[in-house]
């Protein structure tokens, strides 16, 4: 057992949204993850420390936080990945309003999701009301279904984080969601105009930060955002494809 120092963000009850770091020292051992440390501190030193968690297996997406400034899941960040010779900082996600300590209000994301056109399947392929899809076509969108909605990609996206474009920009998580629907071979809905005008995909400037922080290793930028951007280009910015569509 070794002793390590953790600086955890605590909100002030007198001034919601404001807070400071509180320093804790606790024992850590091999195999522990950051969420274990937070639970240990919660059990022994700060019973009022608020943290959201659920599965502790990297599948529920609840324990998102910023560890040493990097957006990560607390349950998937092992002690061996951190330099314990200096204090480890644990902060809430900075892109969402704080509720208490490490817990933020991510409800904005659920409101955004409601604004994206829903799945609208084509007529069934078979008389029994079922559809047929080639595995090749399924594989392409399957990657997007791995998303656990941890919202780390939303947290790190500078359009939301630094420029506060929450009213205009839906963020990487929902471009993945839109790509999943838009590239689905059964879907007949058209979201390209919305992606350009309502969801402002043009705000994305390809920094790939969302891809870097994704705990499910979804290629958000390469496989979701850029292909959607190219669909917008074909529809709105490419005069040749616009001309060809006129003759179809």
């Amino acid at each position: 057992m070794a002793t390590a120092t953790f600086k955890i963000w605590r909100t002030h009850s007198s001034a919601p949204g404001d807070g400071t770091y509180q320093t804790f020292q606790t024992e850590v051992s091999e195999g522990m993850v950051v969420l274990d440390v937070v639970h240990s501190i919660q059990a022994q030193q700060a019973p009022d420390l608020a943290v959201r968690w659920n599965c502790k297996a990297g599948k529920c997406g609840s324990c998102s936080a910023e560890i040493n400034g990097n957006p990560r899941l607390m349950c998937m960040t092992r002690m061996s990945q951190l330099n314990l010779s200096e204090p480890v900082t644990i902060e809430p996600m900075r892109t969402f309003p704080p509720i208490k300590d490490l817990v933020t209000d991510v409800s904005w994301n659920f409101r955004v999701k409601k604004g994206i056109k829903k799945f609208k399947p084509r007529q069934p392929d078979a008389p029994d009301g079922t559809w047929r899809m080639a595995q090749r076509d399924v594989d392409r969108v399957q990657e997007f279904r791995k998303c656990i909605e941890c919202f780390l990609c939303q947290d790190v996206c500078h359009v939301l984080r630094d420029h506060n474009k929450h009213d205009e920009f839906i963020g990487p998580r929902f471009f993945v969601y839109a790509a999943n629907l838009e590239m689905n071979p059964l879907d007949t809905e058209d979201r390209v105009d919305d992606l350009k005008d309502a969801h402002n995909i043009g705000y994305c400037n390809i920094t790939k930060c969302c891809t870097k922080v994704c705990p499910e290793h979804i290629h958000i930028t390469d496989n979701a955002i850029i292909p959607l951007k190219e669909r917008v280009v074909s529809r709105h910015y490419d005069p040749v494809t616009r001309l060809l569509r006129m003759f179809k």
Binding site: N68, G69, P71, W108, R136, V159, D162, K212, E230, R231
Partner: protein, 267 residues
């Protein structure tokens, strides 16, 4: 449940809780791209030492007008304005240059390194306003595919230059003979790297098959999409390797032409 409005306190330039050396990558990209732009600009304005025998520098290929035997239409045309600087490279470099400038990989790289937008992931920015690629001038990034079309044509022209670079003049007989020199190999590697970069670009991937939701119904496009996707997964690597190979090819031919080094003939 009552919705809490999103109200974020923005951070100042460079402000971050990150402990790692987040500034190393943007600085390295700034230095690497900066050196390339400076060297390419200098080389383009030289209008000299760009050809050696059957070798032609990729900065000057294709040579539409110029003084070397590679020129398609002879020396500088009479109608060229006397006050305007002339170099064969100035006529063609804007096309591959704009292809790279509008490339999705380079966009992400230089927005960070040259414009600090953001300087690195989860690091504060210097500006409060933001337009992204939604409005002028960055909305023009959307014409990337047209520069890709031109870049593909350039691949064929550069491949033809590699073929020409296998023809050497025998100093004794004066006859043309087939051969392979180090310059031939360098130019060939350059074409391979440029092809890997160009055909793996995101636009090529989209146009070759990414635009279909049911790509299984387009078997030829499916194969092309798979190949382009494989190259695309290493797009960053090919972007840098091809950048170095273009500059390296020019440097090698320049040194040969200046008589500083001698070409190595394998056969």
């Amino acid at each position: 449940m009552e919705a809490i409005p999103v109200r974020i306190v923005t951070r100042g330039f460079g402000e971050t809780s990150r402990r790692d050396s987040w500034w190393v990558t943007p600085v390295a990209i700034f230095v690497g791209l900066g050196l390339f732009v400076v060297y390419a600009t200098w080389a383009a304005f030289q209008n000299a030492h760009y050809a050696y025998g059957s070798y032609l520098s990729p900065f000057y290929a294709p040579e539409i007008w110029g003084d070397s035997p590679h020129a398609w239409f002879g020396p500088k045309p009479d109608w060229w304005p006397s006050l305007a600087p002339f170099s064969p490279a100035l006529l063609i470099l804007p096309f591959p240059g704009l292809f790279r400038f509008t490339c999705y990989y380079y966009r992400g790289a230089y927005y960070k390194s040259f414009w600090a937008d953001p300087p690195a992931c989860a690091v504060g920015e210097p500006r409060k306003t933001y337009w992204g690629e939604n409005s002028f001038p960055l909305i023009f990034q959307n014409i990337h595919r047209y520069f890709m079309y031109v870049a593909v044509i350039f691949l064929f022209l550069l491949a033809y230059d590699v073929w020409l670079a296998t023809h050497f003049t025998n100093p004794q007989t004066g006859a043309e003979e087939f051969g392979i020199g180090l310059g031939t190999v360098i130019l060939a590697v350059n074409v391979v790297l440029l092809s890997s970069y160009t055909l793996g670009c995101h636009v090529a991937r989209h146009l070759l098959g990414g635009l279909f939701d049911e790509i299984s119904k387009h078997p030829v496009c499916d194969k092309a999409y798979s190949c382009s996707s494989a190259l695309n997964s290493r797009h960053q690597l090919f972007a840098w390797c091809s950048l170095f190979s273009v500059a390296g090819s020019d440097i090698y031919i320049r040194l040969l032409s200046m008589g500083i080094i001698s070409d190595v003939r394998f056969f």
